[in-house]
Amino acid sequence: MTNILKVKLGFVSFMILMVASAYSQNQKLQEEKELELVNFKNIKQVLQEDGLSQSVITKKKKVKAMKVSQEGLDKSRFKYPEEKEFLGFMTEYWLVKNAQLLDWDHEKPEYGLEASFKAMLEKFGFYHKKFKIMLINTPSLVRVSLPGNEREVVLVLSVPFIRSLDLTKLEISLLLLEDFFRFELGYFEKSVTSEKLKKLGGTSFYGTKPDLTLIEETMKNYNNQIYEKGFTFQQQFEVTKKMDSYLKANPELWNSYFRLLGKIERFLKVNSQYKQYIKLYPSPDLQLKWLSPEEKIL
């Protein structure tokens, strides 16, 4: 009986041991499985098999490209305007800064200049051209053509000057045409474009402060060109000859232009208020001489 009990007890303990051993073996296998999963090489293999590894590389590349593009965008927010765009902007900034001095914020006389000047430009084959005319209520500045935005010229003209000379719509348009040619020849742009603008235009100031002396310098150049420097004899000669060549085909317009220059010349002689004009635009009497047919010596 005791023996039977001993055998039974031995069998039960053997079974317990077996179960425990099997249990512990299963537990290990599970851990091993987990270890295998954690094993990077195996993950890599699984990922490669599923094509996920390639997708990660593509995603990484995409993120990198996005980062580069975002950085580019951030940097572009810190850009100086391109040279031409900068001058168009500066023209408006100059007009705003000199608003009180130029007195352009007032009700304008209706000269019908939009239609008449447009017709004149088209008559001479200037298509797809934009212009802005700003009439100012001061004799301190008679006229100037400034660079505007793309394909555009800003023509500034004094109303007191128009009134004093009692200019007709046609005569005003001829003055504007002369200024348009002056602008097309690029004298003003050349004069106000500094080395600094050529260097900085279109570049980025990312990570630093913008160089505001660029604006100050350009404003100074505008004022200098408009009020002090003006145009040279050579430049005036070229403009006058250009007017001559365009108007020659239309004697009526040519005569109007010739008479207009005479009118201005006589007016300036007796009006000291406009003495600065001759310095800036030399000079109506010379222009008349350049236009006059050469006298033949027999």
Partner: protein, 131 residues
Amino acid sequence: MWIYLLILSSLSLAATKSTDEKLVGVFYFNPIFGHVHQSSLKTSPSLTTIQCSYPVKVIESSKVSAGPEWAYVQVADYKGFILRQYLSEKRPDCFQGRYPKFFDSLNLDLAELYYWGRLYDQYTQGETRVR
């Protein structure tokens, strides 16, 4: 019955509103700065100053005649007039959008903002035809 009355009253309200003021659409302001005018005159006082790309509600009203050149608009709480030539259906590519940090560095004061807006009222603008 109640639902019928409710629908009827809301319809009549909508009809009254539509005859009075109707939204034509949302347009965007083009120039760098500009003004919403009190009346359809370039020299009329400014109600508020807006800048390029600002969304503007163009409205129509039987009581307001804006004329062909002007649009009757609502900007925030202001109702006034803007020249049609300065409004576009698409969001414009503005200078201050292209060069925001450069533009900010100018630190324009209120007077300058005002005059910049007035500039576009005072220009006589034209463009020759394309050949």
